[in-house]
């Protein structure tokens, strides 16, 4: 049996701290990774932080994470696209998340979505052309007691109707 010589690992020069762009957010993200000791099982935590800092996960950011955590880009991309919470596209200035859980659905959440769709001429998951409003749907935000619920820019609002939702959207569009 011939012995295979162990491949000599090319030792990369210490990567520069942060990111070539000089964007400070990369540095904050790196500190967060360090807190988790660059462990592979912290990937989802790191992606959460990255999305919190940047709003969405663009390719460059995913490559940065894969490089720092020493994970193949395919694994990072695979995880980022598997989970609904992560978005690879930028969101609009305002977000309108309509809960489509069972309780909200039987109380007419589908009509709320339809109304917004007609008003903004976009489908769930899309953003208006002027980048003002993103329409999203959620599986269930656990606010079933106050169905149908809509989350406007992170604020859960109870008992919405197609009219009240369109009214709120119009406020954003006109602003």
């Amino acid at each position: 049996m011939s012995e295979i010589p162990a491949p000599t690992k090319p030792q990369p020069a210490t990567p520069p701290a942060g990111h070539a762009s000089g964007d400070k957010r990369f540095k904050i993200l790196e500190v967060h990774m360090k807190k988790h000791q660059f462990r592979h099982d912290a990937l989802i935590e790191v992606l959460h932080k990255a999305q919190e800092l940047f709003g969405y996960l663009e390719d460059d950011l995913l490559l940065f994470i894969s490089h720092k955590l020493k994970l193949p880009p395919s694994r990072v991309y695979g995880v980022a696209t598997f989970y609904h919470f992560f978005t690879l596209k930028p969101k609009g200035e305002h977000t309108c998340v309509v809960c489509m859980g069972t309780a909200c659905y039987v109380k007419g959440a589908d009509k709320v979505v339809e109304a917004v769709q007609n008003q903004l001429k976009i489908k769930p998951g899309e953003t208006t052309a002027d980048n003002k409003v993103s329409l999203l749907t959620a599986r269930c935000i656990g606010a079933c007691g106050i169905a149908p619920a809509v989350v406007y820019d992170g604020t859960v609002t109870p008992r919405q109707t197609p009219e009240s939702t369109v009214e709120q959207i119009n406020k954003w569009v006109k602003a």
């Binding site: 462990r39 592979h40 099982d41 912290a42 990937l43 989802i44 935590e45 992606l47 959460h48 694994r75 695979g78 995880v79 598997f82 989970y83 609904h84 919470f85 992560f86 489509m100 859980g101 069972t102 309780a103 659905y105 039987v106 109380k107 959620a138 599986r139 269930c140 935000i141 656990g142 606010a143 079933c144 007691g145 106050i146 169905a147 619920a149 604020t155 859960v156 609002t157 109870p158």
Partner: protein, 543 residues
């Protein structure tokens, strides 16, 4: 921290208690109706009236009647104000001194409250979830102390077996048996995981427990860890529950500071640390093997069992995985005894179950009832029936894995076996009421769409089968399907149920099968007559 310290914290907290306590709900439901503003106004009004020494305004967790929020309860008068606003909140304070409150009151002795039996929710709406002292004053962490000092891990497992507690995540596996298996598994490193990935649409019990009484879950996990020999715990919680995450983080920090978590719990050799893992919106992660993949930072895809997590789970180590509600039951079981717990409920289903009552019903919110309570009691007496004089058509339990129970079966007792017989499941506790206006085929399609979107794609029956079933349901709703399509749908239901890898696929046909069983007429009414081919002509020729 030793027992005396714990007792002195409790006594100090009880001694500081004021004569009148105003409990203001600060759980997510009421918060969305500005209950934090209500609390602020109440505090201001108390200060203005100079009542600081007599009246305490306490932020508490869920007070159950979510549809009427924000809720404010007045102790010891046993009054419950509903739909309180920041404007009319001060009048509640004036009412304490004989004035008249502008806020609406509800009957605190209504069936919705009196028919409940609280074990899991005993502290919910009573203790301040952001202060560990408040939990300790309600006998918190006493069970952990007793377990660590007076029982061997074997005794702890035996007591759990005796209590008869079954997993509250939906499947109802006996908890004691699970603990025993993990305890017996060989391995130096073991883990305890709390499944707080409450993905079923229509369920919010776990969110409420975490927001209202996080310490009971931590205490339950610590007792479980001692029983099975684990020193590391994880709580896997949905990213959609930011308030629950924040309260858990705070609770863990407080427990560590007091020496109730971390190294040397209660100055014993027992170490236990808990970390929070935040989910990222994948329903399949409620399945135990998928959840563990996610905790490891990977795509949440399930794997075949065996090996079961109890033998080879997280990072290949023996792992105990229980649901939030299961852990929340644990402290009470050790504090009051396994026999006490076993005395509640039915022969095979012990204790209570928390349900999230929602949909077309008058009173929506949380209810906790003994196992075996008839569905009718829950829906009609406690829930108040359908709003605006409507008629209840069906009750959906178990979310996308469960089924619809028609109104003629409302006398069914709620326990694991009875619901199973009707083709539904207990599930984690979501209970959605549907009235006459609900189209059952549409409901079936709604759940199928959910499963189709949430299928992880690992096994073919689930990945492809849910798409095909959804297409047929859609076709039926659009009045384009024939009896032959319906037959194909039934065939697919059977195939996907029997051949899928994990629970998601195995139960995905349940809503369709149960609506087919009880509401077949609705499907058939939408079918088109079969277009028969004339003899001799091939089918393609007629197209």
């Amino acid at each position: 921290m030793i027992l005396n310290d714990l007792i002195s914290v409790k006594e100090k907290e009880l001694a500081a208690q004021k004569k009148i306590v105003l409990r203001c709900c600060l759980a997510a439901g009421c918060m969305s109706s500005n209950s934090s503003g209500v609390k602020e106004q109440l505090e201001k009004a108390v200060a203005e009236a100079g009542l600081q020494n007599e009246v305490e305004v306490r932020g508490v967790g869920c007070m159950k009647l979510c549809c009427e929020g924000p809720l404010v309860a007045v102790d010891p008068k046993n009054e419950l104000y509903v739909k309180v606003t920041a404007e009319n909140a001060p009048s509640i304070i004036s009412a304490l001194k004989g004035g008249k409150a502008n806020a609406e009151k509800t009957d605190a002795n209504a069936a919705f409250f009196t028919k409940q039996l609280s074990i899991v929710l005993a502290n919910s709406g009573v203790v301040d979830p952001e202060r560990i002292e408040s939990y300790i004053a309600a006998d918190g962490y006493q069970a952990l102390h007793e377990v660590l000092n007076e029982m061997t891990p074997k005794d702890v497992v035996e007591a759990m077996v005796k209590s008869g507690l079954r997993g509250r995540g939906g499947a109802g596996f006996p908890t004691g048996l699970k603990w025993g298996t993990v305890a017996k598994s060989a391995g130096a490193k073991k883990y305890v995981i709390c499944n707080a990935d409450e993905g079923d649409p229509g369920a919010f019990m776990d969110r409420s427990v975490l927001e209202s009484d996080p310490h009971s879950v931590l205490e339950g996990m610590a007792i479980a860890a001692y029983a099975v020999g684990a020193d590391q715990g994880y709580i896997y919680v949905r990213a959609e529950y930011p308030l629950a995450i924040a309260r858990l983080q705070l609770a863990i920090k407080q427990a560590k500071t007091m020496g109730l978590l971390g190294s040397g719990v209660f100055e014993s050799p027992f170490n236990f640390n808990i970390e929070i893992r935040i989910g990222a919106g994948a329903f399949v992660c409620g399945e135990e093997t998928a959840l563990m993949m996610s905790v490891e930072g990977k795509r949440g895809t399930p794997r075949p069992r065996p090996p079961f997590p109890a033998e080879s789970g997280l990072f290949g180590c023996p792992t105990l995985l229980n649901n939030v509600e299961t852990f929340a039951n644990v402290p009470a079981i050790y504090r009051k005894g396994a026999e006490w717990f076993a005395g509640i409920g039915t022969e095979k289903s012990k204790g209570t179950k928390v349900f999230a009552l929602a949909g077309k019903i008058k009173n929506t919110g949380l209810i906790e009832v003994p196992m075996g309570t008839p569905l009718r009691t829950i829906v009609e007496e406690m829930g108040g029936g359908a709003p605006d004089g409507g008629k209840i058509k069906a009750v959906q339990t178990g979310g996308p894995s469960g089924g619809c129970i028609p109104s003629q079966h409302l006398d069914t007792p709620v326990d694991y076996e009875s619901l199973g017989k009707l083709g539904s499941i207990m599930g984690s506790g979501g209970m959605i009421v549907m009235d006459e206006g609900t189209n059952m085929v549409d409901v079936a399609r709604f759940f199928m769409e959910f499963c189709m979107d949430e299928s992880c794609g690992k096994c073919i029956p689930c990945r492809a089968g849910t798409v095909q079933m959804h297409n047929i349901l859609d076709k039926i709703l659009k009045r384009k399907a024939t009896a032959r399509d319906l037959a194909t749908l039934e065939e697919l239901c059977d195939m996907v149920r029997n051949t899928s890898l994990c629970g998601l696929g195995q139960t995905a046909p349940n809503p369709t099968m149960s609506t087919l069983r009880f509401f077949r007429g609705e499907y058939e009414a939408l079918l088109q007559p079969e277009q028969h081919c004339a003899p001799g002509k091939t089918e393609t020729a007629t197209k």
